[in-house]
Subunit: 341 residues, 2 copies
């Protein structure tokens, strides 16, 4: 989407301005504090990113009001992502994020493993606080700020519950309903519902149109996760820019896999259970799993769900009275999510 | 202080009400989420605590306005403490908190070590979000809420920088100025300065009286840390309720120890460096260190600093026009901190 490219630069401007402000104000406390803020700036800004979430927030605002006033506040949701990813990296034991060392890896190399964990906890905590600071700093009225902060609390709480479900799933048999719950709490909340709630709150809107937008957000948010899962194994690296072996190595519990296990033959189930999550899984074995998921109908099941979610999302806002600029963005966004697959 | 006992129950009432609300609203998401919130309630509420910080906030408010309106918001600072302690417990590798297993220990036993760390990160994050929720939920006007949230951001940021300094101190030679900086950022901020800023913000006051109160808060806050350090080795367990061997075993870098290392004879310095931080340090060796700290003048130095800080704190508010109820509490609090030693 062309508009994403255009607005990305605008988000980057405010994001950098905010982070530079933090740096300038605190860099002289000590060299260690200076390093920490620099690491956070590198992680949250320098490594790039599409900035889809803050842009979605900005256009949710544009559903009701003209102008780019929401941009300065929109960086809150990008700082939230930095917080979530830094802490998730610890929990997932991820070494790399966008091709560079994760925060806990940086400090592990600089000091030791426990310091890696400790400093990444602190870096994430720092970004957590920055989320609220960005709203306080946003130039909106106090009423809008308080409403936005309440929604941020709602998003963060659901994210934490979603991550709890995700982590503890390793210790019990996974059912399809567990996966849907995680998609709702962990993905839809901060990918779509959060940005849209915040956009509405900043526009001072709190009526049935918000409910409709939330229906859109839930459906498109979950659809986003399902396309991500499909691309996580069926995607072409050239197109997605992401390796399509990571999910397999990590043993990610996606709808596609859970459904595959349910629908495939017993011997195929044994094969998936043995290989999915094996760090040494070969290209050939991944190809075999892809064939199983295709043949048993799990891939079609997920693609059908994806289409249904996209359609449901789009139709929930089609007849709602919203400003064209905002509505067009959201409808295009739904098609864009669909097109990624 | 009798007033602390009386107000403790009031703080507990609002704290429990808030946490029960979170529990009731989210307990049905899944058994895992229910467990997590129960663990947080146990940690932040059931295990007790003097609630000195929220009470200080309430009386800072009373410096300007009559009534207990600030109580409901005051639990924010108690939830902040829960967040700080849960994450600090991970970093300090502490197994126990108030005689019961820390969150990471609970989940380590329930699952495994990495899950212990992960779930404690999430539990701390949950409390972090609760801080802001408590303010949003407090019944104050939007202006006061936004001011309070800005101060919370200020406190949290300084805490994180203070903890960064503290952790990374292990990797360089400690100087007295480092210790003072940590006391300022890590202790004074959330023990005294934070609660007092929040009390003022909720009362809608933002003039030179706040500056004077901050002078009080910095001095008494640092004094509190110094008495804690002295009691950490010289305290009688019967009186303080805390073991007086933990600091030695942990190798806590206190002003008392740093000053002792600077002032004592070379052979005594070698002895302290060898034994301070040794988990197997004996009672006899601790007694020897106590004697060294006394003989070289480090104990007297710290006691003198403590007295100076208390006096400076008290005199900064003596002539400021404040409501009697609030002012009396703060002056008594300074004497109380002094009396603990």
């Amino acid at each position: 989407m062309k508009v994403i490219e255009e607005y990305k630069e605008k988000v980057n401007f405010y994001l950098m301005k905010f982070l530079e402000g933090k740096f300038d104000k605190n860099k002289d406390i000590s060299p260690e504090v200076k390093d920490l803020i620099e690491d956070v700036i590198d992680y949250a800004y320098e490594r790039g990113g599409k900035r889809v979430r803050p842009i979605t927030l900005t256009f949710a605002y544009k559903c009701f009001k003209e102008g780019d006033e929401a941009l300065k506040a929109s960086i809150a949701i990008e700082l939230m992502q930095a917080y979530l990813l830094i802490h998730d990296d610890i929990m997932d034991k991820s070494d790399l994020r966008r091709g560079k060392a994760t925060i806990h890896e940086i400090y592990k190399k600089r000091y030791n493993e426990h310091m890696g964990t400790s400093m990444a906890i602190l870096a994430g905590d720092l970004c957590f606080g920055y989320i609220y600071d960005a709203i306080a700093d946003s130039g909106f009225g106090e009423k809008e700020k308080v409403e936005a902060m309440k929604h941020i609390g709602w998003i963060l709480e659901r994210e934490i519950y979603g991550q709890t479900l995700d982590l503890l799933l390793d210790f019990k048999e996974i059912k399809e309903e567990d996966v849907w719950k995680i998609y709702e709490y962990k993905t839809a909340t901060y990918t779509m519902q959060g940005p849209i709630y915040l956009g509405c709150a900043l526009a001072g809107v709190n009526d049935e149109r918000v409910e409709k937008l939330q229906e859109y957000a839930y459906n498109v948010g979950v659809a986003f996760q399902i396309q991500d899962d499909i691309n996580g194994i069926f995607g072409e690296v050239d197109k997605t820019g992401k390796p399509n072996v990571d999910d397999a190595k990590e043993g990610k519990k996606t709808l596609l896999i859970v459904k595959g296990l349910e629908m495939c033959r017993d011997e195929d189930k044994k094969f998936i259970l043995k290989k999915w999550g094996d760090e040494k899984i070969s290209e050939k074995e991944i190809e075999k799993i892809k064939k199983i998921l295709k043949d048993c109908g799990a891939l079609d099941y997920c693609k059908k769900k994806l289409d249904e979610l996209i359609e449901k999302g789009k139709s929930s806002i089609k007849d709602v009275e919203l400003r064209d600029e905002g509505k067009k963005f959201l409808l295009d966004m739904a098609d864009y999510v669909r097109s990624l697959c």
